[in-house]
C-alpha cells in the first residue's frame, strides 16, 4: 500500500520533472564559451537543442556545425556520441533514414554490382572494430594568424570513437574490382544545392583495399547518430575527416582519377613540410589533404588557473599520433626549454586518442607556460611554430596552457 502510493507519486513526479526539464532546457542552455580566437569573434553559444546531442558549441545551425566542448576530452579517450562534433557541408541532409529499406550500392569498374541492406552487411561480412580519431581538416582553423575564412573552429572538431562495421576491402572483393580500377568514390544521402557540386570524395583503390578502411555501422557500441552519418560512415584511419563520408550509400569504382570539385579544387594543402607556406606566397604546388599529423592537448588545466607551487601538479590530457600510434608525450614547464616524459595511458588502438599524465613540480610562485608535445611512431614531432595555409588546414603546433603558481 505504502509502496504503491510511493511509486505512483514518484512516477507522476518524474513525469512532471521530465516535462519541466524539456521545457526549460533551451533557455538553461544559453551559456557562452570563449574559444580564444585571435581578433575574434571568439564567443560561441553552448547549446543543447540539437537532436541526439547534449551540450555542444554552436558554430552554425544550418548546415550543422557543432563543436565538442573541450572539457569532454578530459573525461576519457572515447568521445561520447552525444558530444561528438558535427560537420555538414550542405544543409540539404535527410532528417530521416529508414533502416529496412536503406541500401549501399557498389558499382562502376566491378564484376558484380552490389546492393546491400544493413542486414546484408551485418550477416554477410566479418565484423571488425577499430578505435580511430575523426578530425576535421580545419580543426583549430580559428587560431590561424593571419586568420582565414571558413568554419572558425576552436580545437573541438575532433573525436575518438570505437567504430564497428565491415572492411571496405571485403565489400569491394565481393563486388570484384576490375583490373584498371584506380580509385573508389564515395557519396552519401546528402544533396547539394541545385547543380552545385555534391560532397563526394575518393580514395586510391589500393588505399580503399588496404584492409583498414572500414564501413562503420556502429560508433561506441550504438548505431551512429544521424548527425554523424547514420546508418553507415566510411572510416579512413589516420586520414582527415573529409574522406569519412557520412550516410554512405554509394561506392563507385573508377578507372580514371576523380576530378570532382571536392578532390580537385577543395581540401588542397601546400605540398610542403607541415603543409606550411607564407601568406600571399604564389606558385606553391597543392595536393589533396591526406594523412593526419600528431597532436596533444592538456585537458585538466586551463589558462589562468591558479595552482600550487612546490608540489607535484597533476597534468593530463590526450594525444594522438595521426597516421600511426603515439611513441611518446613530453611536457615542459619552462616554455619549451626542457622537456620531461609523460606517462602514457592504455593503448586502445594506434589511431585513437591516448591519455597521458605527468606530475611536474613548479619550483616557485610565479607564471608558468605548460606545454605538451607528441612524437608519433614514425618519428614525427609537433612543431613549435604554427603552420599557415589559406585553407586553415592541418594545424598541429605544440599547445600550451598558462598557469599561475602560488
Amino acid at each position: 500500500m505504502v509502496h504503491h502510493l510511493m511509486t505512483r507519486r514518484f512516477v507522476l513526479g518524474a513525469g512532471a520533472m521530465g516535462g519541466l526539464a524539456l521545457l526549460t532546457r533551451p533557455s538553461l542552455a544559453r551559456s557562452m564559451v570563449d574559444l580564444g580566437l585571435p581578433g575574434g569573434p571568439s564567443e560561441r553559444e553552448i547549446i543543447t537543442d540539437f537532436p541526439e546531442k547534449a551540450a555542444m558549441v554552436l558554430q552554425r545551425t544550418r548546415g550543422p556545425l557543432l563543436e565538442t566542448p573541450f572539457d569532454v576530452y578530459d573525461k576519457g579517450v572515447f568521445t561520447p556520441n552525444d558530444q561528438f562534433f558535427v560537420r555538414w557541408h550542405w544543409a540539404f541532409i535527410p532528417n530521416a533514414v529508414d533502416a529496412d529499406s536503406f541500401t549501399l550500392k557498389v558499382h562502376g569498374q566491378v564484376n558484380q554490382p552490389l546492393s546491400l541492406s544493413l542486414k546484408d552487411l551485418v550477416k554477410d561480412f566479418p565484423r571488425v572494430e577499430l578505435a580511430a580519431v575523426n578530425q576535421c581538416s580545419g580543426n583549430s582553423r580559428g587560431f590561424f594568424q593571419p586568420r582565414v575564412p571558413g568554419g572558425e573552429w576552436g580545437n573541438g572538431a575532433m573525436g575518438n570513437a570505437l567504430w564497428a562495421g565491415v572492411r571496405l576491402k571485403d565489400v569491394l572483393d565481393r563486388a570484384g574490382v576490375k583490373a584498371g580500377a584506380v580509385q573508389a568514390r564515395f557519396s552519401g544521402l546528402d544533396q547539394a544545392f541545385a547543380d552545385a557540386p555534391r560532397f563526394i570524395k575518393s580514395l586510391d583503390i589500393d588505399h580503399a583495399r588496404d584492409g583498414e578502411v572500414m564501413i562503420a555501422y556502429a560508433m561506441n557500441g550504438d548505431q551512429l547518430p544521424l548527425l554523424n552519418g547514420f546508418p553507415l560512415r566510411l572510416i579512413v584511419p589516420g586520414w582527415y575527416s573529409t574522406y569519412w563520408i557520412k550516410m554512405l550509400n554509394d561506392i563507385e569504382v573508377l578507372d580514371q582519377p576523380d576530378d570532382n570539385f571536392w578532390m580537385a579544387k577543395a581540401y588542397k594543402i601546400p605540398d610542403t613540410p607541415g603543409a606550411d607556406m607564407k601568406p600571399g606566397e604564389t606558385g606553391v604546388p597543392m595536393v589533396p589533404i591526406n594523412k593526419m599529423v600528431p597532436r596533444s592537448f592538456i585537458t585538466n588545466l586551463r589558462s589562468g588557473d591558479k595552482v600550487s607551487a612546490n608540489e607535484p601538479l597533476l597534468t593530463r590530457g590526450i594525444a594522438f599520433g595521426g597516421d600511426c600510434g603515439v611513441s611518446k608525450v613530453d611536457v615542459s614547464i619552462d616554455g619549451g626549454k626542457t622537456w620531461l616524459p609523460a606517462k602514457l595511458g592504455e593503448d586502445k588502438g594506434k589511431y585513437g586518442f591516448r591519455q597521458w599524465q605527468a606530475e611536474p613540480t613548479l619550483p616557485a610562485a610565479g607564471d608558468y607556460r605548460l606545454m605538451v608535445r607528441c612524437t608519433n611512431e614514425n618519428g614525427a614531432v609537433q612543431p613549435d611554430t604554427p603552420n599557415w595555409n589559406p585553407g586553415g588546414y592541418m594545424r598541429n603546433v605544440i599547445e600550451s596552457v598558462d598557469v599561475v603558481a602560488g
Binding site: 509502496h3 510511493m6 511509486t7 514518484f10 512516477v11 518524474a14 520533472m17 521530465g18 526539464a21 580566437l37 575574434g40 569573434p41 560561441r44 540539437f50 537532436p51 547534449a54 554552436l58 558554430q59 552554425r60 545551425t61 544550418r62 548546415g63 576519457g76 572515447f78 561520447p80 550542405w90 544543409a91 541532409i93 532528417n95 530521416a96 533514414v97 529508414d98 533502416a99 544493413l118 551485418v122 550477416k123 565484423r127 572494430e129 580559428g142 586568420r147 582565414v148 575564412p149 572558425e152 570505437l162 564497428a164 544545392f193 541545385a194 552545385a196 557540386p197 555501422y217 556502429a218 561506441n220 557500441g221 550504438d222 548505431q223 547518430p225 544521424l226 548527425l227 547514420f230 546508418p231
Partner: protein, 116 residues
C-alpha cells in the same frame, strides 16, 4: 526502506533526463540491429545586426546557410569578402541577384567595421 525504493525508482528517470553518466562504450550485442532514425533539425534564425544592405544579405544568403556562417568570420577586407561572395556564386551556385551584390558587400564590410 521507502528511501531505498525511491532511489531505485529515481535512477532510470535520471538516466532518461541525461543527468547521470552513461556506462562507458561497450560492445553491442551481436548481431547488430538498427532502428530507423528521424530527427527535426533547427532552422536557425535570420537575425543579423542592423546595417546598410542587411535586407540584401537576408534575401540572398540564407538559402544555403544560417547567419552564423557569416557572423563568425574573421575580419576580412572588401577584397576578401568579394572573393567569398564570388565563391558562393560561382562554385556553390548560390542564386544571388546580381544587382544585390554591392549591397551585400556593403553590409559584410560594415558589420565587421562596426564590431571593431
Amino acid at each position: 526502506m521507502s528511501h531505498a525504493i525511491m532511489s531505485r525508482a529515481i535512477l532510470p528517470a535520471l538516466l532518461l533526463l541525461g543527468l547521470l553518466p552513461l556506462p562507458a562504450p561497450g560492445h553491442a550485442a551481436e548481431p547488430m540491429t538498427f532502428k530507423s532514425e528521424s530527427i527535426q533539425l533547427p532552422f536557425g534564425s535570420s537575425d543579423f545586426p542592423p546595417g546598410p544592405g542587411v535586407d540584401a544579405v537576408k534575401k540572398n544568403c540564407l538559402l544555403c546557410h544560417s547567419p552564423r556562417m557569416i557572423l563568425y568570420q574573421p575580419t576580412l577586407t572588401k577584397e576578401g569578402w568579394t572573393k567569398e561572395v564570388d565563391k558562393m556564386i560561382n562554385v556553390f551556385k548560390a542564386p544571388v541577384v546580381k544587382e544585390d551584390i554591392p549591397a551585400i558587400l556593403d553590409y559584410l564590410t560594415h558589420f565587421q567595421a562596426a564590431k571593431e
